[in-house]
């Protein structure tokens, strides 16, 4: 089997039920955008990469290792996914930012880290604010801050800006992409917006009807 040194993920003959059917796809280490209409299977790809689901057929490699041979929970801690609909746990902003640490029985995060993460996503709220007082957009920012605090090896972002207005959506995506690039962490992002896709990505994967149609390289690195 040919191994591409630069590939982060490699999909060979991957299908998932009758939702997705991808003969071959390589995802590199930069910022990759998956672009396509609703229901085309974008989220399904992210879930496969995060191992929330497993391919019905075919093989999926991460850093050259077949995913089936790795521990799913350990994998999810490295390759963290931001869900399309921000799901909030009971409690306040602080509880939600700390939720992954609570689950993993790790020490809680320092307040200064919480503030800096909230700042990155542009959520200027007191960490003691109950999450049920937040708007949809604020919840999305909070969910993003939660993912950033995990410092994942790879970011999987499912419509990171779907609940935000255009201007703030771009600002959030931009901050995140710059941060990820600076820290050399790959990003795989699903979006509806061709503008965002073109502006920030190194590669755009277009998908329609559960099949990947093409991959184009772009100049996102200039931004």
């Amino acid at each position: 089997m040919e191994e591409n040194e630069n590939s982060l993920f490699e999909l060979i003959g991957v299908s998932y039920l009758n939702v997705l059917d991808i003969p071959s796809l390589t995802i590199g280490r930069g910022i990759t955008t998956i672009f396509g209409p609703s229901g085309s299977g974008k989220t399904t790809i992210l879930k496969l990469l995060n191992r929330m689901i497993s391919p019905s057929t075919g093989q999926l490699f991460f850093n050259g290792t077949e995913l089936r041979q790795t521990n799913p929970v350990q994998h999810r801690r490295k390759v963290v996914m931001l869900s399309q609909n921000p799901v909030m746990f009971d409690g306040n902003i602080r509880d939600n930012l700390n939720a992954p640490n609570t689950f993993q029985k790790r020490p809680l995060l320092d307040e200064s880290l919480l503030f800096s993460a909230l700042e990155t996503v542009g959520l200027g709220k007191d960490p003691a604010t109950p999450v049920n007082l937040l708007s949809g957009g604020e919840k999305q920012r909070l969910a993003l801050a939660r993912v950033i605090l995990l410092q994942p090896e790879v970011y999987l972002l499912d419509e990171p800006s779907s609940a935000l207005d255009d201007a703030s959506a771009e600002a959030v995506v931009e901050t995140l992409c710059l941060k990820a690039r600076k820290e050399n962490r790959p990003v795989i992002m699903v979006t509806h917006s061709k503008t965002i896709a073109r502006k920030y990505s190194d590669a755009i994967i277009t998908i329609a009807g559960g099949k990947s149609i093409g991959q184009e390289l772009c100049s996102g690195r200039d931004n």
Partner: protein, 258 residues
């Protein structure tokens, strides 16, 4: 103390007035429960009459095999009752887990009560074994039934939360910890509540029965305390076994929700 007043057939029949009252209430409210109320009253009556005759025979002819057979039958019926209650909502694995946890939880606590606490001689004496088994098994059945209900509900209504926890790197155990704890709490709540009110708000059935039968109240309460603690143990052990094994059935080997 004098012996107990024997109830005549007519006296017992007079008690059915309560069923009539309940039927009138549900009828006037338009609650469609008449069938169930009649069925449960009839079944209760027939099952108790049958149990009465069986017990007369068993108590007169103590035999280890008969005692053991009756305990197994009670346990099997309790397990069957839980399964029937959740018909179509349990997968094969969960059914096995329910049977195992009820058998082990109630079984272990029952044996401890009979042998270590009360020290029944001979061990199979049906006069002790059967009523105590009934209480322990019955309560563990109620507990497991509540636990299964709350677990199924929790895993349905909080599915998104569980999924999000998995996405953020939680193991299935961590992702379901809240659901499991709340489920355990709601399953042992009735037992805890009845212990809180015991002796003040209500006098439990076994103690009342013993007192009615002429046993000294101090002996009756000693038994009641032992049984109540045995019930608490049986409920807690069978519920926690069911939950500890049960939550796994909602996940596959790749730690994904199924």
């Amino acid at each position: 103390m004098e012996g107990i007043i024997e109830l005549t057939l007519w006296q017992v029949a007079a008690a059915y007035l309560f069923v009539v009252i309940v039927l009138l209430i549900v009828k006037s409210r338009g609650i469609k429960k008449e069938g169930e109320i009649v069925l449960s009253s009839v079944r209760m009556t027939l099952q108790l009459i049958l149990a009465g005759y069986v017990l007369v025979y068993v108590l007169d002819n103590p035999n280890p095999f008969i005692t053991a057979a009756i305990i197994i039958l009670m346990e099997a019926f309790a397990i069957y009752t839980v399964m029937a209650k959740f018909k179509g909502r349990l997968n094969g694995k969960l059914k096995k887990i329910i049977a195992l946890s009820m058998g082990l939880g109630a079984g272990a606590c029952l044996l401890y009560l009979i042998f270590a606490v009360i020290g029944v001689q001979p061990w199979y004496d049906p006069q002790y074994f059967i009523p105590i088994a009934g209480m322990v098994i019955g309560n563990s059945m109620t507990g497991v039934s509540l636990a299964v209900k709350s677990l199924l509900e929790g895993m349905t209504t909080r599915r998104q939360i569980v999924e999000e926890a998995l996405i953020l790197g939680a193991t299935p155990r961590e992702a379901t910890a809240d659901i499991i704890n709340q489920t355990f709490d709601s399953a042992i709540m009735p037992t805890i509540n009845s212990m809180l009110g015991m002796g003040i708000i209500f006098l439990p059935g076994m103690m009342t029965g013993q007192i009615l039968a002429g046993v000294s109240p101090t002996t009756a309460i000693a038994y009641q305390i032992a049984i109540m603690l045995g019930i608490l143990g049986a409920v807690a052990v069978s519920v926690i076994l069911a939950l500890q094994m049960g939550y796994r059935t909602f996940f596959n080997r790749e730690e994904q929700l199924v």
